[in-house]
Amino acid sequence: MSSSTFSSEPAAAPAQAARWTSFIATLLVAAALFSVAFLAVAFLLDPYDSGRSPLKLKEGVRPQGPRTALASRGRDPQFTGAIFGNSHIQIVSPDELRMRTGIPFVSLIAPATTPKEVLATVDWFLRHHRAPAAKALVIGIDNYWCTANPALPNEKPFPFWLLSRGLPDYLGGLMRFDLLEELSRRITYLTSRKAERAPPDGYWDYEANYRALGYDTNPEIRVRLEKRQETGGNNTDGPFPAAAALEKLMSTAPAETALILVRPPAYATALPQPSSRDAAADAACRTAFADLAARRPRTALVDWRADRPELHDPNLFFDHTHYRQPIARLVEAEIARAIQALN
């Protein structure tokens, strides 16, 4: 293209210029209108049941991954207790905790999440449980919580916009391609009586998934359990910004809300070797959260990263950090005892 005039008929320039000006205006107005229309529909239909829509919509969401279902579950008033974390605490059953404590629990875990996502989820839950106040929070404190990085970087995508405190963030987050598909599903869910609802308590037993992959029978996989693995978090000297961030966040929670910090079970070969650097890192991280528990009222640390007999039984583990139902029962019992001890 030369830098000379585009139009092939200079004589028609004024008329052409007017047509092109109209074209630009139409393009910009169309883009603005389509954007606004899409946002308006998405905002009103509230695809993930975040409670921001002014319309009175059917409760819950269609069956979907936990990341996007968190918003709906986390604001459900029927639950006053919640479990937070990743797959390392996923198998802890909210129903079991309810039976043991009398507190209705919801599982707000999302696999492969780190402190950054958990803190956002805790904040969401607390904001939606002011009155009546949340009774108990159970948080899985795995080695991701031992990071020294103050940015608390997350590894996998997470819909922070969905749990955001700011409306602009939320509206910006609604501008996403996959919502085109999600909105049609949402309409089906809202309008159909037969539409299936995602389990409100969020519990997802991963045992079937692991079994399907041969984690309980495949000798190649089973033998991996016996290889040593360092899971101490690799931070011997601190600081522990995730602990500080959690403490700061919990300062906004009602005083009566119990907080249980769970260091999840790990198979014996993933426990730190005494006197090793891994053990020093593990101990330093443990201290950071034990100190938090000591400083905050109605807070307890449940530590399953100590050497217990159950942690030596390979039949109770799928891999180094994913345990099976029998251990989950023991963890639940200990969490329940910790909650009761705080009353």
């Binding site: 074209f23 393009l27 169309a30 883009a31 954007s35 501008m175």
Partner: protein
């Protein structure tokens, strides 16, 4: 700042256009300084730490050009070119040469780990083009503002196109919004920007999902099946085209919005019936640079066949090295150089080449070469080649659905440039373009937001 980001499309660009329009309309003297400031802001948004480098690069080269005007000492220009290449070498090639030196037993090879300043390969070449032409008496003097804009103009600063001073400088003094075709230019600029975004976001980026796992598996030493190798290689072949030509369309479209016409960079390269034709259609501004500032000075085609062969080989090998500090990039360039030499002999022998066969050979050759370009190392490339030629399990699950439309667009066309210049100012087209722009915004809103491949060069 990525062109394919909310920050750019919904904040920087509208603000920049508003400031530029105000300057052009009410204070034309300030139009170019405003564009310079905007360009520096754009560049600094990415990593402000490299702003001084860009400013120093512009300032120093301009001062040397000024000194040359007074002294006519060609040694000054040589010094400037050497300095430019030295800065590029330090940032881009230090570790590459250190690794090569490290192969010699007993030779210490210190490492210098520093981030690569974005666009350095491109603005270094811009300096060289101007300074070389200045020495030849072809280029005039420009003031610091115009020179800064020539180097740092934000649509082109990160990944080209490589613009010659004579293609752009005369446009800087125009009143772009006073032209009779101003509205048409802006409209076509908006369409080019939209189509360029569509090419990258809707076609190029999804292909990465097909290519990346295959090349990652090869880099990890895993066996890559025949199906995977073809899928990964074809996907990258089209991904790099849609990524880079999409970027260029955006750059050209953005420049038009600010009253500047930049040169084309792509002309349906995968339609080429010969390797020579491919290089006339692929990254055209780089090809031109290599021809005029490397191939011809090395002897070109007018100093006998041996010289021409040497010039072709050296030009393409250095062109490969320019793309990346790695031997795989050099090998990629060398392969293209050898292909051009074979084609030269073929033509000189007067041998026939049916168009369809020529196209097929060219396409397959180019595709095979992209393996070297994309692979992490030679072992990974070899793994992919084994898959491509059937020295690996056949495999299953060849994903072709995204490849078919990509291939159709890339080979059959139309190109965004041609399409944009054929479209009339019809209202329904404006509505469709607006809808397409919103779909692109939605796609950009997803978590996977890909950088441009050519940002690493």
């Amino acid at each position: 700042m990525l062109f394919n980001s909310f920050a750019f499309l919904l904040a920087f660009l509208p603000l920049a256009l508003a400031l530029h329009w105000l300057a052009e309309r009410f204070a034309p003297r300030w139009r170019l300084p405003v564009l310079v400031v905007l360009s520096f802001a754009f560049y600094g948004y990415w990593d402000w730490r490299f702003l001084p480098l860009l400013a120093l690069s512009i300032g120093l080269n301009w001062l040397i050009a000024e000194a040359f005007q007074k002294t006519k000492s060609s040694g000054l220009i040589t010094l400037a070119i050497v300095l430019n290449l030295a800065v590029l070498a330090v940032f881009k090639y230090f570790n590459f040469f250190a690794d090569l030196a490290g192969m010699i037993p007993g030779l210490p090879a210190p490492k210098f780990d520093i981030a690569l300043p974005l666009g350095i390969s491109f603005f270094t070449f811009h300096h060289i083009m101007y300074l070389t032409d200045l020495r030849c008496g072809q280029a005039p003097r420009y003031d610091i503002v115009r020179y800064a804009l020539y180097i740092a103009f934000f649509p082109q600063v990160l990944a080209g196109p490589l613009v010659r001073w004579r293609e752009i400088m005369h446009q800087l003094d125009e009143r772009p919004y006073q032209r009779p075709d101003a509205a048409e230019r802006i409209a076509r600029g908006l369409m080019l920007l939209t189509f360029g975004l569509a090419k990258k976001v809707l076609i190029g980026d999804p292909l990465a999902e097909y290519a990346n796992p295959v090349f990652a598996a090869a880099a990890a030493g895993k066996v890559v099946s025949m199906a995977e190798a073809w899928q990964g290689t074809l996907a990258f072949t089209f991904q790099i085209y849609f990524d880079f030509s999409g970027y260029t369309d955006m750059a050209l479209g953005l420049a038009l919005l600010f009253g500047i016409v930049l040169p084309q960079n792509f002309e349906a390269p995968y339609r080429s019936p010969s390797i020579q034709d491919f290089w006339r259609r692929w990254h055209m501004t780089l090809s031109r640079f290599l021809r005029d500032y490397l191939y011809i000075p090395l002897g070109g085609s007018r100093s006998g066949l041996p010289t021409q062969i040497w010039a072709l080989f050296a030009t393409m090998a250095l062109g490969g090295l320019w793309h990346g500090a790695g031997l795989t990039f050099v090998a990629w360039g060398v392969a293209h150089g050898l292909a051009l030499i074979v084609a030269l002999f073929w033509r000189r022998a007067g041998l026939p080449m049916p168009a369809l066969l020529g196209w097929l050979l060219t396409f397959v050759f180019v595709m095979f070469c992209w393996v070297l370009f994309r692979a992490a190392n030679f072992d990974a490339a070899l793994t992919i080649y084994k898959g491509l030629i059937g020295l690996a399990p056949t495999g299953t699950g060849f994903k072709w659905r995204a490849l078919i439309p990509a291939a159709a667009f890339a080979i059959i066309g139309p190109t965004a440039w041609n399409l944009v210049h054929k479209l009339p100012p019809a209202r329904w087209l404006a509505v469709l373009a607006g809808l397409l722009f919103v779909i692109i915004l939605l796609k950009i809103g997803e978590d996977a937001n890909y950088e441009f491949i050519y940002f690493q060069f």
